[in-house]
Symmetry: C2
Subunit: 232 residues, 2 copies
DNA sequence: CGATTAATTGACAAAACTCAATACGAGTGG
DNA sequence: CCACTCGTATTGAGTTTTGTCAATTAATCG
């Protein structure tokens, strides 16, 4: 019923196989309520690959997912991170344009796309939800374009930290689920530039870095200002 | 009924007012068939502004539109160009996140969003079309992110030329509707870098530039190669 | 034809990248 | 508990690309 790929470890990271842990025919929340099954993915598993048939729509329960695309020479762009509660897999009409991989150990809810589509034909509310969710993704993508197009390294990193703090509902400090390489590929920078920029922000007293993946936001207004040049 | 802003000429370009020319209750094609009215916009008119209520959905009939966002210090990112046949204004739930301006003299079809939404409630086909169209935009945005994130100037310009050639159905040569500044802001480069890159491509015999807005694609495979590093 | 805007070109500066070395941290085995 | 290893992150030195500022040329519009 579910069919998993065994192929294509990415150049950067080995890809392992997911583990189906439970069927959840009833007790699911939100958009996929009552329809999905839960699947657990080990760190760096491929959830779907570029050019796969877009058979499922997904929701993160626990962990995190990166949506990425690889160029032939190994450059990688991460288009989005998905965190608990986020729905993804909508960005496809027939085939996925990016691949999706679990970042840490991750639990995902998945629903057959055609189940939702069939539902949407009967139920305008479901149709509306699918559309709205897609519009949200589009807006996020546009925000990300802004960041990638015209912002310097400091602005990118500041924007990233604020985004993560918001989306992880962090008070004061963020526990990042992803590596520096993931961050770099999300921000269109190199890992070295990300690292240097974080160090500089720490020297400036704007953030603290008690552990490499834990960031304390010491001066949020300063981050906002770096970032606000972003908005109109 | 229609209400037009008089405010905020952009720092870069003056914004003028549109001219309503005709009502077209019946003879429209495609997604907005039978529902829209046609409006003509002079060069550099504002079609909608950031944070406007998202009251309409649009379709380009003639001319071209840029979707852009301005930072407080004047940096501008163009998120998309819309060409004849393209639908836009979908990227909003309640308010537009970017502003839209006509590039040349442009004719636009517009339909009240709530007319379409009402239609979609009754007609799953319309609902599906709205969703599909939005997914298309999302995919385009993701493609654009790839370009902005990890590609050098030559790759960006090559990708841009190919995109325009495709979308304008050009055989061999493209007539660009937009300025070098627009191209630069779309590609996340400066106008100088765009200019130099075009000149270099011309020196290399890959393109010809008989007039600054007319580009002859002399060696399409070469452009494809510059570009293919983009795809996976 | 003259004026105004758009585009190109040049010289130099700055930001980010590359390559290389080092440090850190988690996990493993002696 | 310590030492070793492996993956991850940081730091440094030097290069490359793109951006900035300024001047020039080309195109467009009265």
């Amino acid at each position: 019923m579910l069919q998993w790929r065994t192929e294509t470890p990415s150049p950067r990271e080995a890809v392992t196989r997911p583990i189906v842990t439970q069927l959840s025919p009833t007790s699911l929340k939100g958009l996929l309520e009552g329809l999905g099954i839960a699947v657990r993915f080990e760190r760096d598993s491929e959830i779907f690959a570029e050019d796969d048939d877009a058979e499922y729509i997904y929701r993160v329960v626990r962990g995190a997912v990166r949506l990425s695309k690889l160029m032939s020479d190994g450059r990688r762009q991460i288009g989005a991170f998905f965190l608990p509660g986020d729905v993804f897999g909508l960005e496809a009409e027939n085939r996925y344009a990016f691949s999706a991989e679990s970042i840490g150990d991750t639990e995902i809810l998945l629903v057959k796309r055609n189940v939702l589509v069939a539902e949407a034909v009967k139920d305008p509310t479901m149709a509306r939800q699918l559309w709205t969710e897609t519009v949200d993704h589009l807006r996020q993508a546009q925000g990300h374009m802004l960041l990638l197009g015209r912002k310097n390294a400091q602005e990118r990193v500041a924007a990233f930290l604020m985004e993560m703090a918001d989306r992880l509902h962090s008070a004061g400090s963020v526990e990042l689920p992803m590596s520096r390489q993931d961050i770099a590929d999300y921000l269109g920078l190199t890992i070295e530039t990300v690292s240097r920029t974080l160090t500089q922000l720490e020297r400036d007293g704007v953030i603290g870095i008690p552990a490499s993946r834990r960031i304390v936001l010491r001066n949020r207004p300063a981050l906002e200002i770096m970032n606000d040049r972003l908005a109109a």
